[in-house]
């Protein structure tokens, strides 16, 4: 969405997105440091291990807010289309990888990689759609 014109909804989206990504970086570094230095166990370990996932879930909320606030229906449509392409690509990739893992014993797919990969595919789809509607 970085090519979008700066309407209020886009501005709010970008501020929220950057803030959430910054929170993710802080949470990741904090969790890494605590787990490797303090060697926590039990509930504290579980809490620290899931901490970086919280801002990741926040990104989904940020996107949901953008879709609710964006008044330009074409831009909303563009984001929804690109997310559907991203979703289709990541579901296809994880399905293929899952069977390769099961039968060909390839390196296991790390589930947390699904999120960044989804956004990579979504980004490619956004670029393609913007080119189509240029």
């Amino acid at each position: 969405m970085n090519c979008m014109q700066q309407n209020p909804a886009t501005r709010r989206y970008l501020i929220r997105f950057v803030s959430t990504i910054a929170a993710y970086a802080v949470a990741l570094l904090f969790a890494e440091w605590c787990i490797h230095r303090l060697h926590p166990t039990g509930a504290l370990l579980y809490g620290l291990a899931t901490l970086p996932a919280v801002p990741i879930i926040g990104v989904i909320v940020v996107v949901g807010l953008y879709l609710a606030e964006e008044k330009d229906e074409f831009q909303r449509n563009l984001l929804i289309q690109s997310m559907l392409w991203g979703l289709g690509a990541i579901l296809s990739l994880t399905s293929v990888w899952g069977f390769l893992q099961l039968y060909a014993h390839v390196h296991p797919f790390q589930p947390f990689m699904a999120f960044p990969l989804f956004w990579c595919f979504q980004g490619i789809a956004t670029a393609a759609l913007r080119w189509r509607y240029r």
Binding site: Q5, K71, D72, E73, F74, Q75, Y133, R134
Partner: protein, 64 residues
């Protein structure tokens, strides 16, 4: 869906950006509608019709 948006806009001497400002949408949206790559929703079609003081049927025509 075909439309006369480009003609109506040209008659008033508006750029795509001018029309986008008046409709409170992005210039890309205007371009997509003009070129027939995107069909606007009914509320947006009404806004366009009101802006050009015309009816939806006079601006948009079914391609079939």
């Amino acid at each position: 869906m075909k439309n006369r948006l480009r003609v109506l806009r040209a008659e008033r001497g508006w750029s795509q950006a001018d029309l986008a400002d008046r409709l409170e949408v992005s210039r890309q949206s205007v371009n997509a509608i003009e070129t027939g790559k995107y069909d606007p929703s009914l509320p947006l079609a009404f806004r366009i019709a009101r802006l050009f003081e015309s009816s939806i049927e006079a601006i948009f025509t079914d391609a079939d």
